[in-house]
Symmetry: C2
Subunit: 478 residues, 2 copies
């Protein structure tokens, strides 16, 4: 148990230093490793398995809603990036430029895609002619690059993995419907699969995507009271279509511009999983997204029959969950800590005495609750317990968020909340960017979103005290 | 049927101009579209669905053989690329260089990965300490960039998608075993899933991968008699380990270098599928890899009950195959051509008369054979027919290859075969690079591989007439 203790001591406690706790967890749970390229991370097998499960779940939902996957080039010619003026202003300062191919200088610089709106538009211009070609519902899984100075694994890195959906529609109504549909796909994915409750709403003009008419977002709250933008869905109207000349011949024989959307979710969401569910023993994974849902740890594995029983159980239980046996030559206590660190939702201990009693010990990662279960009932009990854990994690996360959500009627209230009990602050806003800027400057909090579910906190803007238009969620954000 | 005819006329015939036929097929079967970036292609939904099935099948085989997926950065610092001298010589002339991030010039240039040996080695150096850490069996799905001047969709492009496996082992024997294991995974995948027969063998010193001790390959033969390298597996020995300092403490307490392998298959293999199975009506897809295995075409769909029956059949048959209904308002003949162009293995026609007779018409894409099958037997018959088609395509491809495989004992024989009936040429070789160069220069044919299955064509080298060491497959290649 000495080893075990040492292993656990190596993590900083959350309350002591949340940022260090986060870094410790991503490293010690074997999710990522730093690379020799500044700001780029290596996603290790355990981290990538998590991403593969996220991809699988999201991809299924995209396909069920009629979307198809494609692959666009990773390079964007400078002239193409510049076609939509808001878009290029938003992205040009943070792109990587390829200037040479082999030993030759290129006639035109290429940027490594920071996002692919311009490429999709250029393609849509070629393949959309008639109303029969609409809608186009495309998605792409790829990596993108944004030249960030301050980086952190998953949360902000020079290169990251994501999916970007890009769609083209005949009418503004269809585009708006799609924008909200995909926001709902994200929110139900976060809540049902990742056990992360989210606030759905619209971004302010200041915070919207470069080139969009409207940006919608799902916002989640981390353990340290900071917000994390977890997925966004943009309605472009016909702005890009005009800039790129994407027109179709409608049923009425009129040439019309298409209406477009885009929406994305990235490896950032793994940061949210860590910071919403994790604790001082490491990662806590919701069962539906855990690469290993059940870890079997043989106790006194040198005793004859123990390892065989462990393998037999693994064989049986692999039909109902993602299960592994840890048959390494480490001490059981060490193994317990290691799999707790990696957030495996459920541990099954089986030793000589358990075999005699025809039972096993199950231990929940989330609260170390112990359950003694007959070996004959495992196939039914384990899936039930995993679902209980899933629901419990969601409820805990919701309670955590509720306990860190406040209302403020004045700037003073807002400031004291942010400094003393950081979290979401619901406060009224007149709709003027001046007030938004003032709040950002004074307390480094931004408008996270104008939530769909509005409440009336007061009649006056928290900043200027003029008539309020919206209730806004404010917060400091990752 | 006028439309239908026009549609088909738009493809160049294979015999008239094979290169144009190829380009016509990839475009008209909606596999790819050219992009605004020279040499980079857009993989369209139908092409990407093909790649997704390839990925799924290969990924399953990789995981069954113990491999784990990871993700490495897409950038390689210039100094890292230079660490292994053969490797940098092989790749530096054809990489894309990033010189600026945002508006700042980088202190060190980064190349966009042409392959990731150097990144994996740099990572292995950090994570491998002891024999307990071995083997490391990693794979990565990603895109890579090679600055090619002459490009063709799938076959050679500036950016392409692939998987690259990178493994580290304790002993030379284990590394060699892995190298051959993965070559076998590729060959069985090609033969069982893609219905493409392959020659397995070793590359000559001249043709091996930059930095490898030995490169193994699977070579397939296209309809025009040209060879296509379809997958490679490299044994690096400890060369990279020495260059990067990847050492482990063995059980005997000695510090030793690891032994490494790498292996890759790319979107190039889609080019092979097209050029092995395709015909003058377009693509022909082996059922096991076809995104749509069965297309249901309602005949006289305006007649009441026909579309309903088509949907009902789709619902039923979706349990046994990948099936779609084409309920567009095009003429049936047009639909037939379109799905033939897209290589859908089996077509189901159902009209009012068929419904009366409780039967359907099935038409095989490969030979237009018609089968009348009772509606009650579809669930059993369709999977059987798909498997028959799969086997038939393999046999046809094997016969095609056999009919285009020749033996030559002299340079004159070799040359006349290449000029008159291009294909694989089996000929003896002394093992000297001089002869290999002479053959390449004289007839632009390269040593495709030294096959594992050796034959004795003669005792003398086809070129210098000195004593022969190996039988080699020669050919012109993509």
């Amino acid at each position: 148990m000495a080893q075990n203790k040492k292993f656990v001591e190596a993590i900083t406690s959350m309350n002591e230093d949340f940022a260090r706790w986060y870094t410790d967890v991503v490293k010690k749970a074997d999710l990522v490793e730093y690379s020799g390229v500044k700001g780029c991370m290596i996603i290790r097998p355990y981290g990538f398995a998590l991403w593969e499960l996220i991809q699988k779940e999201l991809d299924r939902r995209f396909k069920e809603t009629g979307h198809e996957n494609v692959y666009m080039p990773m390079f964007i010619p400078e002239s193409l990036l510049q076609k939509e003026k808001d878009h290029v202003e938003g992205f040009a300062p943070e792109v990587a430029w390829v200037t040479h191919g082999g030993s030759e200088q290129l006639a035109e610089r290429l940027c490594v895609r920071p996002t692919s709106e311009t490429l999709f538009c250029d393609h849509y211009k070629d393949i959309i002619q008639s109303y029969r070609d609409l809608p186009k519902l495309y998605n792409q899984w790829c990596s993108v690059v944004r030249w960030e100075k301050t980086t952190r694994p998953f949360l902000r890195s020079v290169e990251f993995l994501w999916q970007e959906g890009h769609t083209a529609h005949a009418t503004p109504e269809e585009a708006q419907e799609e924008t909200i549909r995909m926001l709902n796909v994200y929110s139900s994915f976060c809540e049902e699969v990742l056990a992360i409750p989210v606030i759905k709403g619209q971004k302010t003009e200041k915070e919207k995507f470069a080139g969009a008419n409207a940006t919608y977002t799902i916002e989640s709250l981390m353990h340290d009271g900071k917000a994390l933008q977890s997925g966004t869905s943009h309605n472009f109207g016909d702005g890009f279509a005009e800039a790129f000349g994407i027109q179709y011949l409608d049923k009425d024989n009129q040439l019309k511009y298409v209406h477009q959307t885009s929406w994305g979710m990235s490896t950032r969401i793994i940061g949210a999983i860590i910071m919403v569910h994790g604790d001082d023993s490491g990662l806590v994974l919701p069962p539906r997204i855990a690469p290993t849902q059940l870890i079997i740890v043989p106790v006194q594995q040198q005793v004859e029959g123990v390892l065989d029983k462990a393998y037999e159980l693994k064989e049986r239980l692999s039909k109902v969950c993602r299960v592994k046996v840890d048959d390494s030559d480490k001490m059981p206590g060490w193994k317990f800590s290691e799999h707790e660190m990696r957030g495996v939702p459920l541990r099954l201990e089986v030793g000589p005495k358990d075999i005699q009693k025809n039972q096993v010990v199950l231990v929940k990662r989330e609260n170390r609750e112990k359950l003694f279960v007959s070996m004959d009932e495992l196939e039914t009990r384990i899936p039930e317990i995993l679902e209980e854990v899933q629901a419990s994690l969601y409820n805990k996360a919701l309670n955590m968020r509720n306990s860190k959500t406040f209302t403020a009627k004045t700037m003073d209230e807002m400031e004291s909340i942010l400094n003393e009990t950081p979290g979401f602050i619901k406060a009224m806003w007149c709709g003027d960017e001046e007030c938004e800027n003032a709040i950002k400057e004074k307390m480094t909090a931004t408008a996270r979103c104008i939530p769909f579910e509005q409440e009336n906190i007061s009649d006056k803007c928290v900043c200027c005290e003029k008539e309020a238009k919206h209730m806004v969620y404010w917060g400091r954000a990752y």
